[in-house]
């Protein structure tokens, strides 16, 4: 699953660690999502969308 988390992180000046803390997961999970290795659950996808204040369908394609 493609996503624009890396780009949005850079735009919001957040590290993987920062984002992981905000959505209550490990840094490895954020890395796996960014690489497209792990598709996040719906609650996690919504939490990420909330952090970036962006609709979930714009982040995950």
């Amino acid at each position: 699953m493609k996503n624009s988390i890396k780009m949005l992180r850079a735009k919001h000046n957040l590290t993987q660690e920062d984002l992981a803390q905000k959505v209550n997961v490990t840094r490895q999970t954020i890395l796996a999502i960014e690489r497209g290795k792990y598709p996040p659950s719906l609650p996690l996808a919504l939490a990420i969308a909330k952090v970036f204040n962006t609709p979930v369908e714009e982040i995950f394609q």
């Binding site: 992981a20 803390q21 209550n24 997961v25 490990t26 490895q28 999970t29 796996a32 792990y38 996040p40 659950s41 996690l44």
Partner: protein, 133 residues
């Protein structure tokens, strides 16, 4: 040295490894010296200390990805263990000579162990499936 009120993930891992080594050393010494009562007490104290460490770690130690990995690993483990145990028990029961009674008995024990593992898996699957439906 390894404990403070808000530990990071790295210091938690260090403390966990040291705790595991300590428990293993104490428990194995207790078994060697015949003090079997010390073993469960050591394990219990170790579990309590681990719980305390988890409570005081500020980082997230387990999330949905870890749980998914654990679930897949557990399922693969059950499959591999049951196939291997069943094969060994089949070989022991069918191919051992009548004079080697202990090998035949070992085969019987292994086959019952396999049945027990699969029964526990089926029961826990049934309960968890019931929870999600």
């Amino acid at each position: 040295m390894f404990y403070n009120a808000s530990m990071t993930g790295k210091s938690y891992n260090k403390a966990r490894v040291i705790l595991s080594i300590l428990i293993a050393v104490i428990a194995s010494n207790a078994v060697v010296n015949g003090n079997l009562i010390i073993v469960p007490i050591t394990i219990l104290i170790g579990l309590l200390i681990k719980r305390l460490l988890v409570k005081h770690t500020k980082e997230v130690l387990e999330d949905e990805r870890n749980q998914l990995v654990g679930l897949k690993a557990a399922r693969i483990t059950v499959n591999i263990v049951s196939i291997v145990l069943m094969s060994i028990s089949f070989l022991l029961i069918s191919l051992t000579e009548p004079s080697h009674v202990y090998l035949y008995n070992l085969g019987i024990v292994l086959s019952y162990t396999t049945v027990f593992i699969l029964a526990v898996y089926s029961v826990s699957y049934w309960f968890i499936n019931k929870d999600f439906s």
